[in-house]
Amino acid sequence: MREITYAEAIREALREEMKRDERVYIIGEDVGRFGGCFGVTKGLWEEFGGERVKDTPISETAIIGSSVGAAATGMRPVPEIMFCDFMGVAMDEITNQAAKMRYMFGGKVKLPMVVRTPVGGGLSAAAQHSQSLEAWFTHLPGLKVVMPSTPYDAKGLLKAAIRDDNPVIFLEHKMLYGVKGEVPEEEYIVPLGVADVKREGKDITIIATSMMVHKSLEAAKELEKEGISVEVIDPRTLYPLDEEKILESVKKTHRAIVVHEAVERSGFGGEIVAIIMEKAFEYLDAPVKRVCAKNTPIPFSPPLENFVIPQVSDIIKAVKEMV
């Protein structure tokens, strides 16, 4: 099968959905002629024109706010926020408008919009450009939250997200944009709410998201040499969450570690741990562990950043402490 990058896969999903449905449009800073800060929307402005690939002023509040208004009245906007960190300046639009409108209106409105935004560290981009803020969004009933780790998933999930009638937060990892993977030529969809077993194993389950899926797979490869068999599960969407697949795996391996790049405190990992404790406690041979970023802002200096963000060696160490 052909291999394309994560960024290309996202672009293909955008292109296909824009062709399929005239109501879909892209809006954001430098997404047009410039093709996006990470080049994801390159070529779409040439293909669809400025009406459907809309360059905006630096106005995150209006990018998200206008998307809410347009989605409520028949369009299907796909706004881009250049870095997830800047979601903060549009947080009322996310929290109190996008996430609540349908509910407050008694179910009388649909908000089909997908906010695409890059998360994650690794570029020495420091504390205001490196965060993984998924827990902000999973905490808000009314939103769906997607976090793909591979080109295949990114494309299929984005297509599902665009067709979904709810506001979806679509979190891309900036260090994954250049990563290649198999993506079929023919049309496919990855439904929201279905986890993927990225690697089968029998001694321990790692539940990992985004970039950490790749680091966990690397760790699993290393551990295999020492006779430890690791299963790696990627929930792919944090809400809706495929609890069943996670629990099934834990019941099989009897051990679980949650790995994510967001800081540990109040992170989404706590949610997964709680689900395992509530629903599979009697299957566990050891307490569930978390491997997450340390509870600090992401520092600039490379040795500090590497220390704060979980590395393959941290995952290996955690697994060894458990089996």
Binding site: E29, D30, G32, R33, F34, C37, D55, T56, P57, I58, S59, E60, T61, D85, F86, G88, V89, L123, S124, A125, A126, A127, Q128, H129, K294, N295, T296, P297, P299, F300, S301, P302, P303, L304, E305, N306, F307, V308
Partner: protein
Amino acid sequence: MYTTMLRIRRFEEKVVELFAQGKIPGFVHSYIGEEAVAAGACAALEPTDYITSTHRGHGHLIAKGGDLKYMMAELYGKKTGYCKGKGGSMHIADVDLGILGANGIVGAGIPIATGAALSSYLQKNGRVALCFFSDGASNRGTFHEGINMASIWKLPVVFLCENNMYGISMPQKRGMAIEDIADRASAYGIPGVVVDGNDVIAVYEAVKEAVKRARSGGGPTLIEAKTARWRGHFEGDPQIYRTPEEIEEWKKKCPIKRFEEKLLKMGVLNEEKIKEIEDMIAKEIDEAVKFAEESPYPEPEEALEDVYA
């Protein structure tokens, strides 16, 4: 002011070179071409006054008295840097010099400057806050909220828009329907002033007037300095949104050359003096690079410090 501009220029040239060599991690936004704004504005301030800066902040920091050694070490991510390696290019600060930080969030410095001005108003310490921001930032909500609040309370703050005509790839023409950002001042009932941002004297005089007004209880002023950055938005930007000719035109309007010629004509400066200044700056920069290269990286565990007071 001449020395300051030249110091900024040479520092930035070095930074660009070191970034290309892979010695400086992260993002670098060069200030080359805009030197007259920082140099003119900061010359009109007292050392105790405050500034808030932006992602394109090196020039502001140098003009406010920032030490090249600590700046360079920070750009390298070293322990001896201004922020102990935690901040990098977009977050350098020196609160002792009144520098309340470069900022990775566009427009975030505007209400912070209002806050610093409110603080000096409440503490009656006579300090003024000067807020650097750019044309793109003026489209954010923080611009409206920050200036409105400062104007109703007549706070001692100067809002200085460095209009370099682009927000990344977005030309001002497509980002707003007006030509002069200074026009927006009328919405807040404060003076709006347009100056040639490549004329250091014009900037100095406009800011001096605004600072005087601010310090005497007259409230904020919005100054718009028209200028241009010569390089891409960030190092590595292919600049598909503007022509090389446009950049060449601006290079002809170099703020440093222009002031140099004036000073030469006035007899304040001569070739010998220029060489002296160049040599001094070259030495400062060499020392800064040496200091940065010889400094150790922070220990990984230091990442956990400074999260709380």
